[in-house]
């Protein structure tokens, strides 16, 4: 067995040279690549962490803004509800006031119309009364002698049986609005002489004017109140038709 010390020395030197060569050509570049990739990864992780933090910050801000907007929305909604309620109350009050005014106007108009109708009715009544009075007065004869003459004409115009029944009834008498004087009494007796002989004359102020013939079997109206009543009925019948 031999040991070559030259070979041993050269091999040791070769190993040291190979150490330097591989360090320069292999391990340093590969380690540099790994370190650079590690740094890039760390930078990417840092950037990702920063982006994540930025996203969280943005989310926090967005959440805060959303909360603020929600609060503002609720505030605005509350204000809108209050304003709407106020406006509704105002509208209701205005509507009630308007309804009260309309009702008052209606009542006033109704009162006015009622008064106008009452006035119109009063005028019509007055006109009717005036017409009745005019016609009644136009148909009245002059004084008790005139009424006596008209009573005689009425008796003459009556059918004979009715006139006989009237005249033959008990308690036959005349009724005047005022007691006649002697001349009027004489004129009355003269006008009714063909039918009755000096009948008794009673007084009734309700007749206003005129001379009625009454008995137990009938009555012949010949007074102003009767004429007014008859004319009024006739006019009423004319108007209702």
């Amino acid at each position: 067995m031999s040991f070559d010390w030259w070979t041993f020395g050269l091999q040791a030197a070769n190993v040291l040279i190979l150490l330097a060569l591989l360090r320069h050509f292999l391990f340093r570049p590969v380690a540099g690549i790994l370190e650079q990739r590690r740094q890039d990864t760390a930078a990417a992780l840092a950037a990702a962490a920063a982006a994540r933090q930025a996203a969280r910050d943005a989310e926090t801000r967005a959440t805060a803004e959303a909360d603020t907007l929600r609060t503002q929305r609720e505030t605005l909604l509350a204000q809108a509800r209050d304003e709407a309620e106020t406006l509704r109350q105002d509208r209701i009050a205005a509507a009630r006031a308007e309804a009260a005014r309309i009702i008052a106007d209606g009542r006033a108009a109704m009162d006015h119309e009622t008064r106008a109708r009452a006035d119109q009715r009063l005028h019509q009544t007055a006109d009717l009364a005036l017409a009745v009075a005019r016609r009644a007065l136009a148909a009245q004869p002059a004084g008790l002698p005139g009424y006596a003459t008209r009573l005689a004409d009425l008796l003459a115009a009556m059918p004979a049986p009715q006139r006989a029944a009237l005249l033959q009834g008990t308690g036959l008498h005349l009724v005047s609005a005022s007691p006649p004087d002697a001349a009027e009494r004489a004129a009355i007796h003269a006008a009714l002489a063909p039918y009755v002989d000096a009948p008794r004359i009673e007084t009734d102020p309700g007749l206003i004017a005129g001379l009625d013939l009454c008995s137990d079997t009938g009555i012949v109206r010949n007074a102003l109140d009767h004429d007014i009543d008859r004319i009024a009925r006739a006019l009423h019948d004319d108007q209702t038709r």
Binding site: L19, L22, F27
Partner: protein
């Protein structure tokens, strides 16, 4: 058949004899350097190729193994342990080339590798702990152990040498015997086994070198397994 201890002379470089072992080593160094330079020119950060991935895996595995054995920055020992691993591996597998005898099949090469490991251990031990601290490590656990520790420093590097030499040389020798007896194709299974042995021996040599250097740095005998690492949160 030549003796496994024979070291044929290739040529004389002045007074220096250049053996075929040295010549083969130079060829392997040139090939490894050219391959490393070619691979280094193709390194990229964004789109690494297959060769770059293998190299990055090698470097990261080295760093992981070193960090698991020696506390501190693994980059301190990366070049030495990586170079030893690659050289022993390439040298062992150089037997695939017909007519090439692995340099590690010769005792001078293995002794040179062990000497480098020994020198690295001494240098890193003194650099890390100082001369006094490095010397006091031989008196542990007691001053009585100083002779034994001194002898151990020699014997374990000798064993490192003999282990590599014996495994590689025996493989080459056995293949040579079988080849001379049986023919061309019969040694192929043995060659495949020799490749496996070469790879394992490269790993063992690098690991033992790391353990020895680590013990010199930390002052402990043998490897110093680190506490289990926890994943970063």
């Amino acid at each position: 058949m030549e003796s496994p201890f024979a070291n044929p002379l290739a040529f004389m470089l002045g007074p220096v004899p250049i053996t075929t072992t040295v010549l083969t080593t130079w060829a392997l160094m040139a090939a490894m350097t050219l391959a490393a330079a070619w691979a280094a020119r193709r390194l990229t950060i964004d789109r690494p190729g297959r060769v770059q991935v293998v190299l990055e895996l090698l470097v990261e595995t080295l760093d992981s193994e070193i960090a698991g054995t020696v506390p501190g920055d693994p980059a301190r020992f990366r070049v030495l342990i990586g170079t030893l691993l690659l050289f022993v591996f390439v040298a062992n597998w150089s037997s695939l080339v017909p007519g090439v005898e692995p340099p590690t099949a010769h005792l001078e090469t293995d002794a040179a590798l062990a000497a480098v490991v020994f020198a690295a251990g001494v240098g890193w031990g003194i650099r890390t702990r100082g001369v006094r601290g490095w010397l006091t490590s031989f008196a542990r656990p007691s001053w009585v152990m100083i002779p034994l520790n001194l002898v151990e420093q020699v014997t374990r590097h000798v064993s490192l040498t003999i282990r590599l030499f014996g495994n590689v040389m025996s493989g080459v020798f056995v293949i040579g015997i079988v080849l001379s007896l049986a023919g061309l194709l019969v040694p192929i299974p043995l060659m495949a086994l020799d490749l496996l042995t070469g790879a394992v021996q490269a790993y063992i040599f690098a690991t033992l070198a790391l353990v020895f250097i680590g013990s010199a740095v930390t002052g402990d005998e043998g490897a110093t397994p680190p506490p289990p690492q926890q994943d970063a949160p």
